[in-house]
Symmetry: C2
Subunit: 290 residues, 2 copies
């Protein structure tokens, strides 16, 4: 049984299963595990690893519309170099500070592969679920997509400095808070835009129709991709971008745009059924988390 | 650099380092990672593993005097059998329910070794730290010690049923809440009684003088140990028992005893310096978490 099938089996029993974070007594909580082989390409600094690992959990809070109160991490590695651990901790602390939260440490653990388990908690009085999208709404995305795909390409080319910069992202906690009172449904794009749309469609029992030309592809992708098709592949399918995907009415989109510095782009609309791009079925593929 | 040295290096920078849980804005949060090879002996059921892994984090909340609001876990394994995962989830849910909290799920992750990363959060308005012990107080322990040492022995003998029973413990959340307004210092005994006393002594800049005959050794240990010396080894050094070790005045001990069904035993007193048992230095050894 694969992870998705097992998660489906448990979905009925657990409040966390099926959304970006669980919400209990006004508190959102989410946890995730990342591994060197699947999540941190060669060249990723420990500062970036700390930022990114903790940022991924903060992004889950953002996707519920929650605040970021605190985050913890288990840092597991074959050995502990004090300076290397400190780099990780600084990255973890800086990403928390960027969204108004506190990194409070966690635990060290001896482990063959560098592995990080992160958890973030934050207050969340009115959570936004994946299940609230309604036909007629616009489907929107924050920021730009494809940064992680571009970073990966740069890591492969040995351009580690720029790759690390692209690999660190600002969790959309502020955007999530502003979007929450308006959005019908919301989640983050960590599995890729295409898969996010399929997951929202399944949870909300609706469809989506988007236009490829409206997908906000990151500038770094434009530079690196050799064709429009490749750029779209990196922007719409690769994932790991931690932007927010949400549904809004026309008027609500105007309201949140006025309140936010982060761009919010409408890429299409909510339909009755089926997930389509440019009128063709959009395949349900993207990043499968290891 | 080993884990303890690295933790010491970071202690000044992180609020979590140096206590059982971090407390931020009235919220206690703690995280931990457990592995098949070091934490779940052959014969441990997945139900027990779920109970114990989540219970360890709930025990950290108890040690701060916090409530248990919610817990999450990352379940990492080479493959996912839906029924096996469900067993784990049931154990995790049951231990949360036993202390008034909610297990809200978490994440699945593909990993060579069965590994669990758990996090628990709970409200904690007046945390008790390790640093508040004062000479003249009594040093006390909840429940009985040595259950995990006895369980390990039974796992080795193939008595898996009884071993699993002993391996599941009730996190002392209720006792922690009752003790919190009275205790000078408090922590859990997960590293063993001896090491806990050394850690409290270091944090509080004090000493302890305890008597071996007053250490509340579990009945299962009495049955299995072949000598008094062996029983004390299992009860005072082995650890992984998740009882609370705390300091109280005589009158406060009376007060908490009247309020709690869980036994609270005075095993000695807080002194100016040095950790001693029966007048001899007590060695600082116990369970070093992998």
């Amino acid at each position: 049984m694969d992870e998705r099938a097992t998660l489906r089996l448990l979905a009925g029993e657990l409040s966390h299963a099926g959304d970006d974070a669980a919400v209990v007594e006004g508190l959102a909580i989410t946890t995730d595990m990342l591994h060197e082989t699947t999540d941190f390409p060669a060249g990723t600094t420990r500062y970036t690893a700390g930022w990114r690992a903790v940022g991924a959990s903060l992004s889950d809070l953002a996707a519920m519309g929650g605040e970021a109160t605190a985050a913890v991490a288990v840092y597991a590695a074959p050995e502990f170099d004090g300076e290397v651990v400190r780099e990780f901790v600084t990255g973890a602390s800086d990403v928390c500070e960027a969204v108004g939260g506190a990194y409070v440490g966690g635990d060290l653990d001896t482990h063959e592969e560098f592995t990080v388990a992160t958890t973030a908690v934050g207050t969340c009085e009115e959570p936004v679920y994946r299940s609230g999208a309604r036909p007629g709404e616009l489907v929107c995305v924050t920021g730009t997509l494809g940064r992680s795909a571009a970073a990966l390409r740069l890591f492969e080319c040995g351009e580690h400095g720029r790759a690390n910069d692209l690999f660190r992202f600002e969790p959309r906690v502020e955007a999530g808070r502003v979007l929450a009172p308006h959005a019908g449904a919301m989640m983050d794009s960590s599995d890729g835009l295409a898969r996010s749309l399929h997951q929202l469609a399944e949870a909300s029992d609706c469809g989506f129709s988007i236009e490829s030309t409206r997908v906000p592809i990151d500038e770094a992708v434009r530079e690196l991709a050799e064709s429009e098709e490749e750029a779209l592949e990196m922007g719409a399918f690769f994932g790991e971008d931690f932007e927010l995907v949400c549904t809004l009415s026309d008027e609500e989109l105007e309201t949140v745009r006025n309140a936010l510095a982060t761009p919010v782009t409408a890429i299409g609309e909510v339909t009755e059924a089926g997930v389509a791009m440019d009128g063709e079925p959009l395949s349900d593929r993207g990043f499968t988390h290891g």
